[in-house]
């Protein structure tokens, strides 16, 4: 005999009942208390705090992102145990157009916090990975790398996720990337037809399977010659 239970319950006891937001002001309003705590704790790393449409956005120094997120996650008074999203925004006309965005939630205290960081223009973009804190950052950071070309230092397996590994047209969500893609339709078609349909497994996967010896001879020669094998 085994017993399974479904507990029906509300959530987060001990806090006032939340209500659906109404008549939220465009600017101003109450900031998330965590913004003040971040200023106290990290001082110079916090450059500004905005409250837009009731959501608090804290702009931080990108180099200290991992440290700040780790503290928000671990500290008892903050307890941001849930990572909602990792993404980036590129603006059209700004000195520092690229902005990293982290959305964090504290389920315990029912708080929502947006962290932002400006990335320098014209240099390779490097952001510390927050994978050591949240496992969910793994795919979200891979997608951000795939779409914007931002390198996440310390990510265990940073490679393209939605596009294929040989995708050569660049990073689609950048503003200088045209909607139709960089290559002409004819070139895209030529590449699709020239793709090797045999190349279905990555080198890593082939190494797992000990299947290398069973591949066709020409494919083995191509792999040995350093050619990458499809996705």
């Amino acid at each position: 005999m085994s017993v399974f239970q479904i507990v029906q319950a509300g959530t987060a006891p001990g806090l006032p009942e939340p209500v659906s937001p109404r008549n939220v002001p465009h600017r101003g309003g109450d900031a998330n208390p965590s913004a003040e705590a971040l200023k106290l704790r990290f001082g110079g790393a916090v450059s500004r705090v905005d409250v837009v449409w009731g959501e608090t956005a804290v702009t931080i120094d990108v180099a200290r992102a991992l440290e700040i997120v780790q503290w928000l996650h671990d500290d008892e008074t903050q307890s941001y145990e849930y990572l909602v999203d990792v993404t980036a925004v590129e603006f059209r006309d700004r000195d520092q157009p690229m902005e990293m965005i982290w959305h964090l939630r504290s389920i315990k205290y029912r708080r929502f916090l947006r962290l932002k960081a400006q990335l320098p223009k014209g240099k390779p973009m490097h952001v510390p990975s927050i994978c050591p804190v949240y496992k969910s950052a793994d795919w979200l950071e891979r997608e951000c790398y795939d779409m914007f070309g931002i390198t996440f230092d310390g990510h265990p397996d940073l490679r393209r996720i939605l596009l294929w590994e040989q995708y050569a047209e660049g990073f689609p969500l950048r503003k200088d990337f045209p909607l139709r893609g960089r290559f002409s339709r004819a070139e895209q078609l030529r590449q699709a037809l020239a793709a090797n349909p045999e190349a279905r497994y990555s080198m890593e996967e082939l190494a797992i399977a000990d299947a290398f010896e069973e591949l066709p001879l020409d494919m083995r020669a191509r792999i040995k010659g350093g050619e990458s094998t499809g996705e």
Binding site: D85, K135, S136, P172, E205, A209
Partner: protein
């Protein structure tokens, strides 16, 4: 008020051990206590360490779309799972940067295509936050009805297809019959069945037609019967229990750290529901309960989804009784078009109509992230506006994407046949994952 419903089941399979961990069928010859203990120990010893690579998908009926899993197998046990996604990638977020806000709504139909009207509403809520618009009381209640209908229809598809994956065919037919009723209702309301595009910034495309609520009442009466029938077919079914209990277990801490949401995180025992914790559309005023599982396996995810459908029925019944009269669209000429008869007869209205359609409404500079509880989990739309009629950035926070990222953790150590059950329990929609 917390209540408990207990389901007691006689187990015919090993399932969970005393420590709450899934019990592995001992496959190693000579393992003490195994039923193969009498077998000679040197049998096939040359196979030790030889692993096999198995490819599932992207064209496989049990992967629920174009998901591809590359599995490393030791015998029949999964040692490693490498998911490949992106076969359905269309660049929704890029296209959104070239569209006005109302023009993005048809794209939201196509990201999670089992929850179309729910996505429309989620996007409209985000855009309305960005414009600073308060929608009318009638619109709020209509949207609640639509969201819960779409939750029921998504869970019905989940139950049917998961049943087929695990070997139960009948619930598929029953659940799709009920889903058909929902689509007939939606067709009567907005004209489309699947890709509804039902909302506009500031309201809905249409008010419900006369007599529509009678059809909804009839559906509310027939659905619980179907749910009871499916419940009788599955909940105590020896095959169903044997193939779901103890599979893909996620502890509460793991579920939070992997960012699971929706029924996935609640089956693991974390009572996180966006409707309760960060309410929208006045969900805090409805009387409903959030089912929370205890063991975090495939079976608990099934129980949680079944219970959610019953709770959705409760919410819809309350919404019907409180549905107020009045306009559906806000009285805000920035976003709402003039009535058609005026646009074709008055010069001012025609100019207003023309400018609103051709140039599009312009929100003030700002950004908004609005999350709703979709059937899959926390679905959020993040929009950044620079004051023009098109967003600088439109980001979809896809719950299936984040839930699926935990699949290597869930399947590793289980048998190959259980991969199908675990994958089905995530309730993935590839349109939303690849976008």
């Amino acid at each position: 008020m917390a209540t408990t419903r207990t389901i007691e089941v006689e187990l015919s399979t090993t399932g969970l051990g005393a420590d709450g961990k899934p019990q592995r069928v001992p496959l190693v010859a000579g393992d003490a206590g195994s039923r193969f203990a009498h077998a000679p120990t040197d049998i096939e010893s040359d196979l030790v360490g030889e692993h096999m690579l198995i490819n599932i998908g992207p064209q496989h009926p049990a992967t629920h779309g174009v998901l591809r899993l590359v599995l490393e197998l030791d015998g029949e046990t999964v040692v490693r799972c490498i998911p490949h996604i992106g076969y359905l990638h269309c660049g929704f977020e890029k296209i959104g940067e070239y569209r006005q806000y109302n023009q993005i709504i048809p794209w939201t139909d196509r990201d999670d295509y089992l929850n179309c009207i729910g996505n429309n509403i989620a996007f409209a809520l985000g855009a309305e936050r960005l414009f600073g618009i308060e929608i009318t009381p009638r619109c709020i209640v209509l949207r609640v009805i639509a969201m819960e209908l779409s939750r029921i229809s998504s869970h019905l598809v989940w139950m049917g297809t998961t049943g087929i994956d695990i070997g139960a065919f009948t619930p598929f037919l029953w659940s799709f019959q009920e889903r058909e009723n929902i689509y007939n209702l939606l067709e009567g309301w907005v004209g489309a069945r699947l890709t509804t595009s039902a909302t506009r910034v500031g309201g809905m495309a249409a008010d419900i037609p006369d007599g529509w609520l009678d059809g909804l009442h009839a559906f509310m009466r027939s659905l619980p019967k179907t749910l009871d029938e499916c419940d009788r077919m599955l909940t105590r079914n020896g095959i169903w229990v044997g193939r779901t209990v103890g599979l893909g277990v996620m502890t509460p801490e793991e579920a939070l750290n992997y960012g699971l949401s929706g029924p996935m995180i609640r089956a693991s025992g974390v009572a996180y529901d966006v409707r309760k914790d960060f309410p929208y559309l006045d969900y805090e005023t409805y009387d409903f309960e959030v089912p929370v599982g205890t063991s975090g396996d495939v079976y608990d995810r099934y129980l949680v989804r079944m219970e959610e459908m019953r709770q959705s029925v409760r919410i819809i019944e309350q919404a019907i009784t409180r549905l107020p009269d009045g306009p559906v669209n806000v009285d805000d000429p920035r976003v709402i078009l003039p009535p058609k008869h005026k646009a074709t007869s008055e010069m001012e209205s025609m100019i207003h109509h023309f400018k609103n359609v051709m140039e599009g409404p312009r929100p003030p500079v700002g950004e908004s992230y609005v999350a709703v509880e979709s059937p899959k989990g926390e679905k959020g739309y993040y929009m950044v506006s620079d004051g023009t009629s098109k967003p600088v950035r439109w980001r979809i926070r896809p719950p299936s994407f984040v839930n699926l990222s935990a699949i290597p953790k869930m399947v590793e150590g289980h048998l190959l046949s259980d991969v199908i059950a675990i994958n089905a329990s995530i309730d993935i929609v590839m349109g939303e994952i690849d976008r």
